[in-house]
């Protein structure tokens, strides 16, 4: 289901060309041209940094609207794991379930059982295989970041698909048997906590088609949740205790006995670690867990709780929960076929556009860039509309910008050409 409109778009009427989004973009995918931000989607990893940073709300997200639920279908909503950063107890979860029923969903599934069983599968996998460090594959932004900028590491990915994709496949397989509805009558919606998951569903990674049919932003159902706070009959819903830890960074430390486990959260810190892996400095690490958002999924763009407060909530909930796991965990354990748990095809590197198709020409351009860079002030002020002086030099050589765009040199009248 490819959308015609891009998932993320700059509203030029609103954009004031302030350079804030450009400066936080980890892949230098943004340029300011004629005082408006321009986004190169081929470089975008959908981390949501620009959306969160924009001071005038000019970067818009394209997702499904709530009223699209067709009555003829059986609708299942999958709750994001980040939901556990927004609730205090099992009763709160029933408010969210009721909200979704009232919005037209026939069933709701939470991801804690999937993650709980996934922990066990990962622990087994890394014991049985020895090509470590293995990179955890639950954050789509990180996957694309690696495919683009650290492409020699694509062979290090674990084979396991995103938890909501596993859930969607499970729902469609089992719904047919237990609900007596045909597979194509079942429509799965994911209530996403972040932009990266929206992207990974609309433009599937590691598979030809996502089993998730609709995506709603978690933030858009928040108002409805508030309305239900007083009217819902509170029930204790079963939650897989270990699973909820996946809402924040570092889950495997508590749920498995894996040693030499490294976690890093926040996209600005991830690059450094990936570089260390590329340089062969972290070969002793068994599993590397990276999240684009600070604190992990609870830090997603569309969650409504501060990431650090959310982490505390998750810990509180974890301590409160009893050990008994929901029945679904046992059914999941019985499903051993890789087609349920793993990516359909391995994730490949994205070919970055080099300076020129011809090697010698690209080499000459590289030299030209460096010569040009030497003439620039090297203060990375971004006023030219490129994210650094180096980037401006590249943009000039590749014809996207002009040398005169350098505001500092123009002001000082130092320009020679």
């Amino acid at each position: 289901m490819k959308t015609c409109k891009p998932l993320i778009q700059v509203t030029t009427d609103q954009c004031i060309g302030c350079t804030r989004c450009m400066r936080v973009c980890p892949t230098e995918a943004i340029r300011i041209i004629d005082e408006k931000a321009h986004l190169s989607l081929d470089k975008c990893i959908y981390c949501g940094q620009c959306v969160q940073t924009c001071s005038v709300n000019a970067i818009k997200i394209q997702a499904n609207e709530k009223h699209e639920l067709n009555k003829a279908h059986y609708h299942v909503a999958i709750l994001p794991i980040a939901i556990y950063g927004m609730i205090k107890n099992q009763e709160d979860l029933s408010v969210i379930y009721q909200t979704l029923y009232d919005l037209g969903f026939d069933a709701v599934m939470d991801l804690s059982p999937i993650y709980s069983v996934l922990s066990e599968k990962i622990a087994r996998y890394v014991v049985e295989h020895e090509d470590n460090p293995y990179i955890l594959t639950q954050c789509p932004a990180i996957l694309k970041y690696i495919q683009l900028n650290y492409s020699s590491l694509v062979t290090k990915f674990l084979p396991f698909d995103f938890a909501y994709e596993i859930a969607a496949r499970f729902i469609k397989e089992h719904g047919e048997k237990s609900l007596n509805v045909s597979k194509d009558q079942i429509k799965v919606s994911y209530i996403t906590e972040c932009l990266a998951n929206l992207y990974a569903i609309k433009e599937p990674l590691g598979k030809s088609k996502s089993e998730v049919d609709y995506v709603f932003l978690l933030s858009t159902i928040f108002k409805d949740i508030l309305k239900h706070l007083d009217s819902t009959v509170l029930r204790q819903l079963p939650i897989a205790k270990d699973g909820i830890l996946w809402s924040k960074v570092g889950a495997l430390r508590r749920t498995t006995t894996i040693r030499d486990y490294l976690s890093v959260d926040g996209i600005s810190y991830v690059g450094n670690i990936l570089e260390k892996v590329e340089f062969g400095q972290l070969d002793h690490i068994k599993i590397l867990e990276c999240y684009s958002c600070v604190s992990g999924c609870v830090g997603g763009t569309f969650t409504l709780e501060n990431a650090f407060v959310a982490k505390t909530k998750v810990n509180g909930l974890y301590e409160m929960l009893e050990g008994a796991e929901p029945m679904i965990c046992e059914s999941l354990r019985k499903e051993e076929q890789p087609s349920l748990w793993e990516f359909e095809k391995s994730l490949q590197e994205f070919v970055q556009t080099s300076l020129d198709g011809d090697f010698i020409t690209s080499l000459m351009k590289l030299q030209a860039i460096n010569q040009l860079y030497e003439q620039l002030p090297k203060i990375d002020c971004c006023a030219c509309g490129s994210p650094s002086c180096k980037a401006l030099a590249e943009d000039v050589i590749t014809g996207k910008k002009r040398f005169e765009d350098c505001v500092v040199l123009s002001k000082n009248g130092k320009q020679t050409n």
């Binding site: 492409s151 590329e278 340089f279 590197e349 080099s354 198709g357 080499l363």
Partner: protein, 145 residues
């Protein structure tokens, strides 16, 4: 373009804070040239080892990256104090680093063997005036082997 193009990076002794930046620069440079990512990784690993050696052991030096139409050459030169026994230094696990430095993760004794392992041609010359390490790689265009 027979001589190719050169990039020179100065590295100061004991500059632990910025250690790794030069290898990072080198990797970025090569990434713009549409080369096979596996080859880029090999060069990056060697650049990193060379850079760390300069920071830890030398009085300071430089790394030179030379790219021609069919080769990448990486040269590390320093101004001393030289390696006492190159033969020993080339042995895996041999290290002159103190127990303490090893505990901190430095001086595992894998630097030079790693450079040799990850390059196509490797040579090292050392005297008290300084050490020169040369590493060369045959370039494979993207996707090629």
């Amino acid at each position: 373009m027979d001589q190719g193009i050169n990039f020179t990076y100065k590295i100061e002794s004991d500059d632990f804070i910025r250690a790794g930046r030069v290898s990072s620069e080198i990797k970025k440079c090569l990434s713009q040239l549409h080369l096979d990512s596996k080859l880029i990784r090999l060069v990056a690993i060697c650049a990193y080892e060379a850079e760390m050696n300069l920071v830890i052991h030398s009085y300071g030096g430089e790394i030179q990256l030379n790219i021609t139409n069919d080769h990448i050459h990486l040269t590390s030169t320093d101004v001393g104090p030289g390696i006492k026994s190159v033969e020993l230094a080339m042995k895996e696990g041999y290290s002159t680093a103190s127990e303490k430095a090893r505990e901190m993760g430095f001086g595992a004794g894998m630097g030079l063997p790693n450079m040799k392992k990850h390059s196509d041609i490797f040579s090292i010359v050392s005297s008290i005036e300084g050490t020169t390490i040369k590493m060369s790689y045959l370039t494979t265009p993207f996707g090629g082997q």
